[in-house]
Symmetry: C2
Subunit: 430 residues, 2 copies
């Protein structure tokens, strides 16, 4: 049986695991695919580097990725390098030439997925990217295949392991953000430059990919409203606890009427919500669909072996398609929905205010909410010497009205400071 020939672009943590799995599982893979998988070549940045006991002929290594992609004996291109360029050039070249592509490159898919999908259509090629979101969790395939007889209304996910580790640790120990980040860095959960994680860029890229699949529309990273977790304080975490909640960095993609709202920000969720118990560096994605109801997918979102598992699953799928002479469902894009501005997203706020403890304060504060048409769900007031703390949770309202309310509260002279402002999510779902 003619083998399926794979060009591997990148041989770092994920790439070397892919090589190891292809080698160790060769027999199983041949049985599952109906033909053996062979590595045609591996593009690396430097040839000289020590690759330990990587089970591969060193002659397969090359620094000429584009040359490897163009070779006639390559059927499938697997890209685990990341970044926009030169990855985009390689993958477009492969797809236009009809080669199947398996990629874990969330940044490229989120910034310019359309170019890849168009190249795939042009070349009649498969484009698979299960590993780009939530690592090992089989999530994209279910979204794009199992649920396509249903209508997804909302996707809420914890899709960044670093920030989930930091927030879980703040929740468990009461640590500050900076202490928890330091610990995460020491343990290898955060990178030396943690910006992409803690500022929500990584989660925003994944949110764009999820929203595109869930709503059959093109959503790019630039469409995602993004707030990171650097301003989450130990006081916020304590406030959440007092409310029976925990704080998570959520990505939320919702279909509202005929538009799409996609945002990434920290939010309080009730401890009874299925996402609340997703701890440490785990990922989970909660999906709400019209007929299926509530679904959740949970697992490891990163790491060499989990990501490689997702890549392998895609390699098997595209290889089977090649042998059958077919192409899988391409991008299911038929609803080019407009992006709803963040101000029109509907959410709830939890606001904790330090106020002067005197008569009329609550009336003044409530007046500001009323002025912006924001309905208050609960108020908790506790005295403390000559000042008091007001903890207010609103009903659902447009984000613009909520931010305007907070801005005006800051102007009130009876408000000494705003101790904490956090969105609250997941109350409907429990």
């Amino acid at each position: 049986m003619k083998p399926v020939r794979v060009a591997l672009l990148g041989c770092g943590t994920v790439g070397s695991e892919v090589v190891r799995l292809l080698h160790e599982q060769a027999g199983d893979l041949t049985a599952r695919i109906g033909a053996p998988v062979e590595i045609a070549g591996i593009a690396v940045r430097r040839l000289g580097r020590d690759r330990g006991d990587l089970p591969v002929d060193p002659a397969l290594l090359t620094t000429d990725a584009l040359g490897l992609v163009k070779r006639d004996d390559v059927d499938v291109v697997v890209e685990v390098v990341g970044g926009i360029e030169p990855a985009r050039t390689w993958l477009v070249e492969a797809l236009k030439a009809g080669k199947s592509v398996v990629t874990a490159n969330k940044a490229l898919l989120a910034e310019d997925g359309g170019t890849l999908h168009d190249a795939a259509t042009e070349g009649g090629a498969d484009l698979y990217y299960e590993a780009s979101v939530a690592g090992a969790i089989p999530l994209l395939r279910p979204l794009r295949e199992s649920l396509h007889g249903d209508t997804i209304t909302r996707v809420t996910g914890i899709v960044n392991g670093t920030t989930n580790y930091i927030l879980s640790s703040m929740d468990a120990t009461g640590a500050s953000f900076s202490d928890a980040l330091e610990e995460a860095t020491a343990l290898g959960y955060a990178e030396a430059d943690p910006t992409a994680d803690v500022e929500g860029f990584d989660a925003a890229a994944k949110a764009a990919i999820l929203a595109s699949l869930a709503f059959h529309s093109r959503v790019s990273a630039a469409d995602v409203h993004r707030e990171g977790i650097t301003e989450v304080t130990a006081a916020d975490v304590a406030s959440a606890k007092a409310m029976g909640c925990t704080i998570k960095l959520l990505c939320i993609a919702a279909r509202i009427d005929d538009s799409v709202s996609v945002r990434v920000h920290p939010a309080m969720i009730p401890r009874t919500h299925p996402l609340a118990s997703v701890g440490d560096a785990f990922n989970a994605v909660f999906v709400e669909a019209a007929a299926a109801g509530q679904l959740m997918f949970y697992g490891r979102g990163a790491g060499g072996a989990p990501t490689a598992s997702a890549v392998l699953g895609d390699i098997v799928a595209v290889s089977r398609n090649r042998l059958a002479g077919v192409r899988a469902a391409s991008e299911s894009r038929y609803a080019d929905l407009p992006i709803r501005p963040m101000g029109e997203a509907v959410t709830r706020y939890h606001i904790s205010l330090d106020v002067a403890d005197r008569a009329g304060v609550l009336a003044a504060v409530a007046g500001v909410f009323a002025k912006h048409d924001v309905s208050i769900a609960t108020v908790r007031q506790s005295g403390r010497g000559d000042e008091a703390i007001l903890v207010i949770v609103t009903h659902a309202a447009p984000d613009a009205a909520l931010t305007a309310t907070v801005r005006e509260l800051q102007q009130l002279d009876i408000v000494r400071s705003i101790a904490s402002v956090l969105r609250v999510e997941g109350i409907e779902a429990t």
Copy 2:
């Protein structure tokens, strides 16, 4: 564009939801498939029954299911009747004639899935059955597709909503099994004859389907060791609580060396385990794979709309395959693994004994464990007048050694009674 013609067998709770979804989502489905889906006919038991506002021409209804299946203008057969016969005859007929089959029939798949798979191979037809296990949760497709580059080592599931509702309610209120069952019946979560649920038959059928897919081997319901929840007492639930555990009816399928162990029984799991927070009538399946690590899939396991969502997803998949002129991955069966007897399954026991409170009791009890080579993990002893309670949790041991230990403990005259014996699972996973 030539439509895809569907014959629907059965029009009860699930079937009428399928009709409704096909009608409501007609536009979306056409876009996703590339051709419209038409109902060619609906086989029902009685024609006269009032079907409310079912959006379908009454002329499409027939009592001749086999005749409908055989019609030349039928491309896809959707079966939501259940039971072994006549469903098997209908589906074998359809598959051998090359018609795609979508079924939710777990009993048939678990008892005689081989016959269906063989007929599918003979006819070159698709056989999809996402709705047969865990209703709306996209689970089978990920198991058979996304993870096929990985090696699944163990699947632990809560796959029966009725028993999960009963056990959740016993856990929440301290109710007895019979009171909780009565409540579940009153609320419609349990059927008038609850045997299939509470005795674990339903879960055993699903366990067989999951094990077959996870381990690429044929496992039938008869291969599954099965114990129901009728003997779980309020005292068991209280013991579990004292241990920081909760009791769930689990289906556990494990690959051990080159054999498969499949069992369904109630077990204690730590409250920190992801499966512990799966409450009410929800289902969840926890998967452990060599590379992917721990994964969990959560959602509604039953009900008309959730099950119909899974059926629709399969209809879209088989319709796309037909239009592309291809057949999906068939049964991935290449490892015909032997079934490991229950006695060789490795588990832990929690045993609660009422013993005489006198010297030497612990030594005598410990001697019985040692004789059967069962290692004790923890012992908790509490006095109560002239008797004491010993709560023992073992290390992992073969089930045969554990049952022999319990049998011999019953013979000891210092053991007044054995208050509770339960397996403990999921300790490794947390």
